[in-house]
């Protein structure tokens, strides 16, 4: 089962932060207060799009071929992700 990373507090809807990290190999635990990186706050589909885009060397043409979609449709998807990232950046500030 793929567990989804919870992003918002189920109680107050505030953005969650990382308090603890754990090493499965040596059982080391790190405690602190870390913000989630912007990319992890995007939807799973958007994260997959970004990874595929990097693997396609940033070529929208290759992305369009792989996704069997037209070039402007893929460009519009990318622009929506850019817009979401900009909004997340603004929220952070």
């Amino acid at each position: 089962m793929n567990k989804r990373l919870p992003l918002k507090c189920p109680s107050c809807e505030n953005l969650l932060q990382v308090k603890q990290l754990y090493c499965e190999n040596c059982n080391t635990e790190v405690t602190g207060l870390y913000s989630l990186p912007v990319i992890s706050r995007l939807s799973t589909e958007d994260q997959k799009f970004i990874l595929d885009f990097v693997k396609a060397s940033g070529s929208l043409k290759i992305m369009a071929q792989n996704m069997k979609l037209s070039y402007p449709t893929v460009r519009n998807l990318l622009d929506e992700i850019i817009n979401d990232i900009n909004n997340l950046d603004t929220d952070e500030e």
Partner: protein, 178 residues
């Protein structure tokens, strides 16, 4: 074939591919229009008269498509934040015109080849034209939306303005050229 492909094929086809398919469609439509005497004097107008050469019918179709593309491209450049490509607009608007082949195609049938004014044959052809026109406008809208990545009020207002301006300019140009 998915029904969405009938009114929005542009999520799958755009650019040069749509340009080639659409151009073939436009040449066929113009040729059938020439054979049957079906004039497209702008997008929102149809007339019947076997009174001209092939180039006249071709000019009618070409001018309306080109002007529509120019106004859509200008709207996209002014209003869209995306890097829009002229080949997407030219191709998708060409592809959008394919349903306009319906009226001249039906006029090839012997029963519709010649008819008197206000006869049932004439109303049938106008009916076919209206169906193809609505279909074409829906396709134009989706072509514009995807090619220029516009939404909400910007999309609707600039689409209506583009249609109206291209209609007015088509009529002016056809008056001068033909």
């Amino acid at each position: 074939m998915k029904s969405s492909n009938l009114y929005n094929p542009f999520t799958k086809i755009a650019g040069f591919k749509s340009f080639i398919i659409g151009l073939t469609g436009l040449l066929i439509t113009s040729y059938l229009a020439f054979l049957t005497g079906t004039h497209f004097n702008g997008l929102l107008n149809i007339d019947f008269a076997k009174d001209a050469d092939y180039w006249v019918f071709l000019t009618e179709n070409l001018s309306n498509w080109l002007l529509m593309s120019i106004f859509m491209y200008a709207s996209g450049l002014m209003l869209s934040k995306s890097k829009i490509r002229i080949v997407d607009i030219l191709g998708t608007t060409l592809l959008s015109r394919i349903p306009l082949v319906i009226a001249p195609l039906f006029r090839i049938l012997p029963v519709f080849q010649s008819f008197v004014f206000q006869s049932w044959e004439m109303y049938f052809i106008i009916g076919f034209y209206l169906v193809s026109l609505i279909w074409t406008i829906i396709l134009f809208f989706n072509a514009f939306k995807i090619s220029c990545n516009l939404k909400n009020e910007k999309l609707i207002v600039s689409f209506i303005v583009s249609i109206l301006l291209s209609e007015i300019c088509t009529k002016l140009i056809l008056k001068i050229v033909i």
